[in-house]
Amino acid sequence: MEYSLEEVMETVRMTMYHNFDIRTVTLGINLKDCINSDLGIFKSKVYDRVTGYGKKLVLEAGKLEDKYGIPIINKRISVTPVSLITESCADNAPLELAMTLDKAARDAGIDFIGGYGALVQKGMTRADERLINSLPDVLSLTERVCAFLNVGSTISGMNMDAVIKLGIIIKDIAGRTDNGLGCTKFAVFSNAPEDNPFMAGAFHGIGEPDFSLNIGISGPGVVRSVVEKNTKCDLTGLSEVIKRTAFKITRAGELIGRELATNLNVPFGIVDISLASTTKVGDSVAGIVELMGIERMGAPGSTAALALLIDAVKKGGAMASGNVGGLSGTFIPVSEDSGMNRAVREGALSIEKLEAFTAVCSVGLDMIAIPGDTPAETISAIIADELSIGVVNGKTTGVRLIPVPGKKAGDYVNFGGLLGETYIMGISSFSSRDFILRGGRMPSPITSMRN
């Protein structure tokens, strides 16, 4: 046999016992050529394209699941930022188009469709403002539409007028949905990648071709099992075994992504090598850090452990695929990761420590429930803090906060299913109001002048 029994069993064990899966295959679809001054025709063109390709995506992904015995958990679609394609339309167009995207996703069997958003890092067009104002309606009236906003970049700095609006908008979204659930479908970014396959922030960027198939692999469970097996080696050795594992799972992801793109007759985009937690106990990034020797995620040493983990994953992933892209960091969403959630419950993990983690990973403050009565300016200030780390350090950072109506620090909230459950995190009661309300634009950092 060309492969040893041990090699075969390593792959089999990953899928059978360690939750190795393809977390998402996300088809990016350009909708610019669907624009029409007649909203009816525009909507019908969008509906046909999304359902046509969506159905095909679900079908072909299912065939590959069978062929390789690796589950593909989510099949998703991202589209051109909706503010761009609705610029020339009437004021009701963004909401109308959101309803069309929602229906198209449902009819195609797609659980989330991303791209309802805008890039406003330098300023907002009238269409961008209109779209931002529609977010509370869209996120409370649709089921599958995910929204994003890019409000900062290293080249442009940060649009603080948009950040002011966001505090108010996020509270409005939360107030209109059960437990603030609408906010779980809305991500705010600095330096948002145009090929990110993960929701809620996925969109099909303007530098992309007509179609692009992007794939997000996963494998916290697989990495966890190698860390568990290597209790005695030093950190150099540990980095090495994580790197090897990341190499193998990225190769599997690349194989499946390329084959799926070929079968769909679309270009292959990128492999996002981010470790992505799920609510399953064995699938926790916090759990890996704890197995490395940190008693509880958030304790001193957690940032260093996370840095080592992500660095090893990146090195293994970069060797395995020439198309690494998207976010490719590590996700530490609080409600979706059982270990993160336990650390919050036990008081080991604060929002300030989570902000510090951003220095070594990406995505930042993800799926964090905060008290419902947090002032809008404080929410804006948390966003400004997190995104300024991205702007200054030339990396992607993101925020997904859920101010849960009627809940205070320490209360419990369950978002259901993959979105998980969590305890409400305490937020500083000191005010940032006067700083935030100054508005304007934070200038781009000196490090952006590289030409």
Binding site: Y3, V12, M16, G69, E254
Partner: protein, 92 residues
């Protein structure tokens, strides 16, 4: 003709007839067994069978459904995976 190789991996309690039943199911669909490797690992029966599906009219999905019955009857775990995944993960 190019081969279309799949790996059938079986894990479970050692018992009579595992290989017989799986070989029979594979034979029924004109799938040729190319190689077979079995071991007792940590008290468990572990087998990997390499089979060529190029002359068979069925898909991997169909084969999985067929083997699912044996999986239930004999309380085994059976995985079917195309060869390419092993090539991608274990060969540079």
């Amino acid at each position: 003709m190019t081969k279309d190789l799949v790996f059938i991996t079986v894990i479970g309690k050692d018992q009579k007839g595992i290989i017989a039943r799986i070989s029979n199911a594979v034979f029924k669909h004109n799938i040729n067994i190319e190689d077979l490797n079995q071991k007792i690992m940590g008290g468990y029966f572990v087998m990997t069978m390499v089979a060529d599906m190029s002359d068979s009219g069925i898909t991997i999905g169909d084969l999985k459904k067929e083997l699912a019955q044996i999986e239930t009857d004999m309380e085994l775990k059976i995985q079917v995976q195309h060869e390419n995944i092993f090539k991608a993960m274990h060969r540079v």
